[in-house]
């Protein structure tokens, strides 16, 4: 597990920034300072200031809570809903399986972001709409994975025996399905977490996300867009934040998957 150590450190760092970011911010992220707008990095504004003179570092740190926190929430909602639906499909018999899978097929037929934009467009911008839109579009992948593995488990002897002795469906799911499903779902969850960060930033960039003046990385990119030629650093900082987070989480997922595969191969 030595190869997991750097990843573990980065994940702890990300979680730390999400939880403690606001305490590390040197300035109020919404305080405007017109005379010092668009300033270069300085002691007061370590990463410079935006068009309204707000501290970019402080906005990034506060924004992490929204960008990463919301991504965590959305992907976790997807994990819970998707896993339950997948288990239901695997354990509920053919008709339920058919119904649930057709619903997931319909959801999967739409590109995630397009569907999310439509949902947010109908409901109106804002945090609640954002969470709902991304959650609705994220659960299907978990459902497919859970159902696929679950169907394989259904024919195992210990599952059949558990049914014969009269164990409840909940107990069978809890003790015989979940231990096998967990590792695969965690790997899917890391991938979906990265997608959720991109989705939140994309919706923010399109103006559908968290409403101003709340700092969020996608809306920071949107605000900085018109300064791309004159002060490109405005876009680079939030862009780098999104890039690093997504990259780190994706690598974490890959490493986790490899480690879990090795564990399964080991006799």
């Amino acid at each position: 597990m030595r190869e997991l150590r750097p990843i573990f450190i980065i994940v702890v760092l990300l979680v730390g920034i999400t939880v403690f970011g606001p305490f590390l911010a040197p300035n109020d992220p919404t305080a405007i300072d017109i005379p010092n707008r668009l300033s270069a990095p300085s002691e007061v504004y370590p990463l410079g200031s935006d068009a309204m003179g707000r501290c970019i570092l402080s906005r990034l740190l506060y924004g992490a809570r929204w960008s990463l926190g919301l991504a965590f929430l959305v992907s976790t909602i997807g994990l819970i809903v998707g896993s339950l639906m997948g288990l239901l499909a695997a354990m509920g018999g053919r008709k339920i399986d058919w119904c649930i899978m057709r619903v997931t097929d319909i959801f999967l037929a739409f590109p995630d972001l397009v569907a999310a934009v439509v949902i947010v467009g109908v409901l109106g911008g804002g945090t609640n709409s954002l969470i709902l839109a991304l959650s609705v579009t994220s659960w299907t992948r978990y459902a497919r994975v859970a159902r696929g593995i679950g169907l394989g488990l259904s024919s195992r002897g210990y599952v059949i025996q558990a049914r014969l002795v009269g164990l409840s469906a909940f107990s069978i799911a809890r003790w015989h399905y979940m231990p096998t499903l967990t590792s695969s779902l965690v790997v899917v969850w890391t991938g979906m977490l990265a997608r959720a960060i991109l989705g939140i930033s994309a919706l923010g960039f399109l103006g559908f996300g968290v409403q101003p003046p709340t700092p969020e990385w996608g809306t920071m990119l949107l605000d900085a867009r018109i300064h791309i030629l004159s002060t490109p650093l405005q876009m680079i900082w939030p862009g780098m934040a999104v890039l690093l987070c997504v990259l780190t989480i994706n690598i974490t997922g890959d490493v986790l998957r490899d480690a879990l595969a090795k564990k399964e191969i080991r006799p």
Partner: protein
């Protein structure tokens, strides 16, 4: 290096939007934020006339000078016979693009469909503003217009681009007009292409072909200009104006009649109280907004609805006085507790709505929110869609709607206050009602003496300043950037004129 990498990536993204065509001598490529609505957009329908007037294809009977004064354009003169009768004598040297002469009969034939509700070219807005009851032809070059009632705005509305004079369309000239450029092609929401009219009465224009390309995103337009794909950007991003002009591009800017303002829900919530409306207005630092949202170059702080270049503008300076704002809140019964204003034992909350299609609106709304928060008023911002925002104001779900309007696109002062503040006006979303103001607005549309009319609209502006049924924020300037070799381009305050025969390449 970083900028170059960004430039390459962003240019690659923006090129499909910019419809790249490399500029050649004799051609001019323009980037503009909106485009034609069809393949042959008839100028009389909706706002189609704006683009054809801007591109030099169509002309109106009367025109607006650079200082928003009135001049005869296709007309030789316009005389007022009595309160409802106007006699117009046409120029005799004007021909349509197909070579037929402009006559009084052609004018009547062109304008009649605008007034006729059954016609496919009917324009309800312009028909209402013109208020024409009858048009009588006298010989080849004289038309007498009779209006339904005294209409002091009549001569001004004849400058409206939608009231363009058109000849019979043909296959070769689907928009058969009189301007220095001939309409050749339109691609919906993409391209409007015109060619020089060799028979124009003042001589053929210098530039052979002009292509107005639709680039909705100002940043993409800036990148297309930087890449050399367009020679002129109308509405260049304020944030990059100083840099691009310092690098050798020609920057042209001028104040316009466009006002950024806050519509107010004057019937529900805290802003039903005029003292709180005044307090909100006093708490907003308009200089700060112009500096931050417009980079200091995109406009002027507004104290009243008309920009200072218009003869109707009253001498009302914008005020920023947070202490006076707090005093007014106290007078209105609010109490400050722990730095927050409370009204009727509840936090004083103000919801601001706006939309994102104009780049300056969201940052302006954020700044207003910050200024209100600075005095202890809890304000929030929601970015939505213009129609939905109006619904929110009408239903009491929002208190302020930040938006942009042309206050006098035809030069006449009655348009904006009449449309927004008259108690029976269709666009009076906030429900403001003031009998004195209604009477003044009615009197303003029927008063022909210029000095007397100025006094009436000064009184209108004083009522707006004191009772605050709306809050003016800034008068926008139009910034345009062109190739340094392009001469003769000027920004017109009405924003409806771009191309003139004088426009030419110096090399």
């Amino acid at each position: 290096m970083i900028r170059n990498i960004i430039l390459i990536i962003a240019t690659a993204i923006s090129l499909p939007l910019a419809q790249p065509v490399f500029a050649q001598e004799g051609n001019l490529n323009i980037a503009y934020m909106s485009g034609p609505t069809s393949e042959a957009p008839d100028p009389r329908i909706r706002y189609n006339g704006w683009l054809s007037n801007q591109a030099g294809v169509t002309e109106t009977l009367m025109g607006l000078t650079a200082d928003m004064g009135l001049y005869p354009r296709l007309a030789k003169r316009l005389e007022q016979i009595n309160e409802t009768t106007w006699r117009m004598t046409l120029r005799e040297d004007v021909a349509f693009h197909d070579g037929t002469a402009l006559t009084a009969q052609a004018v009547v034939k062109s304008l009649a469909p605008i007034l006729d509700p059954e016609s496919e070219f009917h324009n309800a807005r312009n028909a209402r503003l013109l208020g024409i009851d009858e048009m009588v032809v006298e010989g080849n070059y004289v038309v007498t217009f009779k209006t339904k009632e005294p209409n002091a705005a009549f001569s001004w509305i004849l400058t409206e681009p939608g009231v363009a004079v058109l000849g019979e369309p043909t296959d070769a000239f689907p928009i058969n007009a009189t301007g220095p450029y001939i309409f050749r092609e339109a691609v919906k929401d993409q391209l409007y292409r015109v060619e020089a009219n060799p028979n124009y009465r003042d001589g053929a224009p210098h530039i052979a072909q002009i292509r107005a390309m639709t680039v909705t995103d100002p940043s993409a337009a800036a990148l297309a200009f930087e890449a050399g794909d367009v020679d002129l950007v109308i509405n260049y991003p304020e944030t990059d104006f100083k840099r691009i002009t310092a690098n050798g591009a020609r920057g042209v800017s001028a104040p316009t009649v466009q006002l950024y303002w806050l519509d107010i829900d004057a019937t529900n919530g805290p802003l039903a109280d005029a003292r709180i409306r005044r307090a909100v207005s006093l708490a907003i630092d308009r200089d700060g907004i112009v500096a931050a949202a417009l980079s200091g170059v995109g406009g002027e702080p507004a104290g009243t609805i008309y920009p200072s270049m218009m003869p109707w503008a009253a001498d009302i300076a914008p005020s920023y006085d947070p202490a006076a704002a707090e005093a007014l809140l106290f007078e209105a019964g609010a109490v400050k507790t722990d730095g927050k204003w409370m009204l009727n034992d509840e936090p004083l909350k103000i919801e601001i709505v706006t939309y994102a299609s104009r780049a300056a609106l969201p940052p302006t709304a954020e700044l207003i929110q910050a200024y209100l928060s600075a005095i202890g008023v809890e304000a929030s911002v929601k970015i939505g869609e213009w129609g939905a925002n109006n619904d929110a104001i009408a239903s009491g779900a929002a208190d302020l709607h930040l938006q942009a309007w042309g206050v006098a696109p035809s030069g006449d002062p009655s348009y904006f206050p009449g449309a927004i503040l008259h108690s029976e006006a269709g666009s009076n979303i906030g429900g403001y009602s003031n009998a004195e103001l209604d009477a003044l607005l009615a009197k303003g549309t029927q008063t022909f003496d210029l000095a007397e009319r100025q006094k009436i609209y000064e009184q209108v502006q004083m009522i707006i300043a004191n009772d605050v049924p709306l809050i003016p924020i800034f008068h926008a300037s139009q910034l345009s950037v062109s190739n340094p070799n392009l001469a003769g381009f000027k920004v017109h305050p009405a924003m409806t004129y771009w191309i003139s025969p004088e426009l030419r390449w110096m090399k």
